[in-house]
């Protein structure tokens, strides 16, 4: 992470980065060059930290959703959460406070959060029948809700000015460029708390892998578990997308990467997924601001471009998938 802080539009020696960080954390050492201080402490450090937290959150949400709906393709995008967030964000970016009245006051992040949760609630409501949340129904409801939200989002975009469109596009592809220290505590607490809580549910998540009926026979209240997990993952996703935009692929790929390497026991899977998700997004963010310096690329472009080939290689190597 320190290396990630040192590299950017302006490269700063790792030693100087340590100096600045130590100065701020411990209060010791010289304050040093104010410009350097500003780059390291005000811009890059929160950015790298946010990338790590967002990566962890998205990856954990993906891992849980995949088990929750017994579908390896599930992630916050497939279940419609991301599209809900997009619509919320796009509405505020294009229409601002004018048309939305009170909603304008909550800003892009707030609207994205509300959008993600609203989409989550809708999928939750549509995904159940006679009080039971069926996995296939949930996925299909998520996909359908996602498409509807996407159409509305596209329609709103048609009404946007070119400048707004660029903002919209950057938001939808995700970025942690605007990271500020003030955002970090909230997101970090939500991601950490969710990861710990979900890991505690690890044993029950494992039981869910055996199938709904078998999990029931193992003493798991499957329906309640699914409801609780869905709420936690919607909150987690909403929080993360709200600050970083619609970063795709991390939630889909990182859990599989970890599964293919260490297996599917959620008590190990979830913490390691969080860790790898964090590392991955820090690296991707680093590349996004160094590949075409001093311009920046959106994260969503790179997450898939870099991750997919590696993922495919791992998929080819794995034998267990052939015999299901």
């Amino acid at each position: 992470m320190v290396v990630a802080v040192s590299i950017g539009a302006v490269d700063i020696p790792v030693g100087d980065v340590w100096g600045v960080l130590l100065h701020h954390v411990t209060g010791r050492g010289a304050a040093g060059d104010p410009a350097l201080d500003q780059i390291v402490w005000t811009f890059r450090t929160p950015r790298v930290a946010l990338a790590a937290v967002v990566g962890a959150g998205l990856a954990v949400a993906g891992a849980v959703l995949q088990t929750l709906v017994s579908n390896p393709l599930a992630d916050p995008v497939v279940l419609g959460f991301s599209y809900g967030a997009s619509l919320g964000a796009v509405l505020v970016i294009t229409l601002g406070g004018v048309a939305l009245g009170g909603l304008g006051g909550i800003g892009v992040s707030g609207a994205a959060f509300v959008g993600a949760l609203a989409a989550g609630a809708l999928v939750f409501a549509l995904g159940q029948r006679r009080g039971r949340l069926a996995p296939t129904r949930l996925v299909l409801a998520g996909v359908a809700v996602g498409y509807v939200l996407l159409s509305v989002t596209s329609f709103v975009q048609l009404l946007a000015t070119p400048t707004e469109l660029r903002t919209v596009m950057f938001w939808m592809l995700g970025s942690v460029a605007g990271a500020q220290w003030s955002q970090l505590p909230g997101v970090t607490v939500v991601v950490l708390a969710s990861t710990v809580l979900l890991t505690l549910f690890g044993r029950r998540l494992n039981a869910l892998l055996a199938g709904d009926e078998s999990a029931t026979a193992l003493g798991v209240d499957v329906n309640r578990l699914r409801a609780v997990l869905l709420v936690i993952s919607a909150l987690l996703t909403g929080t993360v997308i709200a600050v970083a935009g619609g970063i795709g692929f991390v939630g889909l790929m990182i859990p599989h990467l970890v599964r293919l390497t260490i297996g599917a026991d959620h008590r190990r899977l979830l913490p390691l997924t969080a860790l790898l998700g964090a590392i991955y997004l820090v690296v991707v963010d680093l590349l996004s601001r160094t590949l075409s310096r001093p311009d920046e690329l959106p994260l969503g472009i790179l997450t898939a471009l870099l991750g997919a080939p590696f993922f495919l290689w791992l998929l080819r190597r794995n034998k267990g998938l052939d015999t299901v």
Binding site: L200, A207, A210, D212, A217, L218, G219, V220, G263, A264
Partner: protein, 266 residues
């Protein structure tokens, strides 16, 4: 632990599935549940492992109504091996067997000596040790069923519920599984499609036909030529051979009447 099902009625989508079902298994008994497809066997099992709550009727395991117990308490008494395979890719055999310890822990529970002991014992008893570290998805059908049975035994249950445990297995694997179940001494309620296997394994049989119990009791008393004809639509007779095994001899010709298309088993 004894199992009693009494005055059980189940209606799904306004269709009666089970009507006034009564069933008993004494401690240590192996009771076979047989009947044609769609007769309600799997539905009856669901009420026993606490997946389906009956509107009327009581299922008692030990001395308690299963719906008076918490899901976890009930699962510490009753273990089930069912047909839903789930998506068990990525879990090793040992990890699957360890799922049997799920009802013994709350959210904060960690694996202890008792868990490891129960898992090791179940692994040894079911002979799944040689492939303990392999991915479940890479196993053969017979190996998979032994792993699932080991998972059930790791629950340390006092009642076993088995749904078509021996389906799709070769004859040797079937016999091995049946011997394994017998050797545990645990009270068992088993749905079996194959009447010969049911006769071989079970002390008692309960015959379901169109949601009702039409016969119950010792194997020879139940599988009469009349019952084989009326319920299963085949001609045959049952007798105990000199080696103590009950065998069914089917006539070459099936009954002449037209059978309705078989509904899918619930």
């Amino acid at each position: 632990m004894k199992l009693t099902v009494d005055q059980l009625h189940i209606t799904l989508d306004r269709k009666p599935i089970l009507r006034d079902v009564h069933l008993e298994a004494a401690k240590g008994d192996i009771v076979g549940l047989v009947g044609p497809n769609g007769s309600g066997k799997s539905t009856l099992l669901r009420t026993v492992y606490r997946s389906l709550r009956p509107a009327t009727g009581v299922v008692t395991v030990g001395d308690d109504d299963v719906w008076e117990l918490s899901a976890r308490t009930a699962a510490r008494r009753t273990a089930a091996v069912l047909q839903d395979a789930g998506t068990t890719t990525g879990l090793t055999v040992t990890e699957i067997v360890a799922l049997g310890r799920t009802p013994h822990h709350g959210l904060l529970g960690r694996d202890g000596a008792e868990d490891r002991e129960a898992v090791a014992e179940a692994v040894a008893r079911c002979g799944v040790g040689p492939f303990a570290d392999r991915d479940y998805a890479t196993l053969s059908g017979g190996e998979r069923q032994r792993v699932l049975l080991a998972r059930a035994l790791a629950q340390r249950p006092q009642l076993l519920v088995l749904d078509e445990l021996t389906n799709h297995l070769d004859i040797r694997a079937r016999f091995e599984l049946l011997d394994l179940i017998r050797s545990t001494g645990i009270t068992t309620l088993a749905v079996l499609h194959d009447l010969d296997l049911a006769a071989r394994l079970c002390d008692h049989l309960v015959v379901l036909h169109e949601g009702e119990v039409v016969a119950a009791g010792p194997v020879l008393d139940v599988l009469t030529p009349d019952l084989l004809r009326d319920v299963f639509g085949v001609r045959g007779s049952t007798e105990r051979h000199a080696d103590g095994v009950v065998r069914i001899t089917y006539a070459a010709q099936p009954l002449a009447h037209d059978r309705e298309p078989e509904p899918v088993d619930q």
